[in-house]
Symmetry: C2
Subunit: 141 residues, 2 copies
DNA sequence: ATAAACCTGACTAAAATAGTCAAGTATCTT
DNA sequence: AAGATACTTGACTATTTTAGTCAGGTTTAT
């Protein structure tokens, strides 16, 4: 089980953005340079973040992106959802009334994965962007 | 972030095996039929489980596999490690003294993913095969 | 002898990932 | 008005990972 780059980049970029957010819009170019992420890829990611109302865009020169909410109110869950990086542990689809094995009963491990999903989402629900920025400042001192 | 089939199958197969373990070796063919997993694929998986001393093989007719330890002592961690399905959240390699961004300092999110990894592994460390079997019997009643 | 079952390694199709590329549009500065 | 900066969109592609398959064994109970 591996974390995708898209999810990592999204969070990384937002932490970067959040640090300068109070002052000015932050351009993707700057984030790209500071964090070493391809500009084109960042554009894809921010397009999704914007559609999910996590950031707002400011067009034109001196433009960039700004957070759309307080950093404290943006949870990791929201970010990962926005870029389609939700955790998905169970393989079966509930709308088809079938288990992952094709049979009508759930497989032997369904409950386990369901529990795991909850466990992971708890973690994501608790962490806010503010926590991350703060954690970073702490380390710097 | 998705769970791989290999990991799911490994756990599923072992739960199945554990239920009959006391009596006789369980053949992969039976597991294949009961759980709907390709026999060839199961063989790959059990080869790894055997090398990691989670199961023992009994060759010949009436052969099969047997647990190599008490179900209570086999944790999910052990199973997933054996089939190379460890969780891997950080992307950087510590032996190269570089962050995931190629720079000599860790990226803004390194700590976060590290925490997440710990959080997930806690879950896997606690759950034993016995828990899973028991959970399954409970549901059946 | 023969059939059941383990054992091994190589191979492959399909899906997901991690981007790139091209062609815009909007806004600010001068 | 011109030029530069920066967002916007959608299509395209190479690489990697996943999820198996396939072919050919070896071992052992009956
Ligand atoms: S994961 Fe839901 S039935 Fe197997
Ligand atoms: S994950 Fe370790 S430096 Fe980014």
């Amino acid at each position: 089980m591996k974390l995708s780059s898209k999810g990592r980049y999204a969070v990384m970029a937002l932490v970067d953005l959040a640090r300068f957010n109070e002052i000015n819009p932050v351009s993707l170019r700057d984030i790209s340079l500071r964090q070493g992420i391809s500009l084109d890829y960042l554009e894809q990611i921010f397009s999704k973040l914007r559609k999910n109302e996590i950031v707002q865009s400011v067009r034109g020169t001196q433009g960039g992106y700004v957070l759309n909410k307080k950093a404290r109110e943006i949870k990791l869950t929201n970010i990962l959802d926005a870029v389609d990086e939700k955790v998905k542990t169970v393989q079966c689809k509930k709308e088809l009334k079938k288990g992952c094995n094709g049979k009508p009963t759930k497989c032997l491990t369904h409950n386990l994965w369901d529990e795991l999903e909850t466990h992971i989402n708890n973690f994501f629900d608790k962490k806010s962007l503010e926590d991350l920025v703060q954690d970073n400042l702490d380390r710097r001192v």
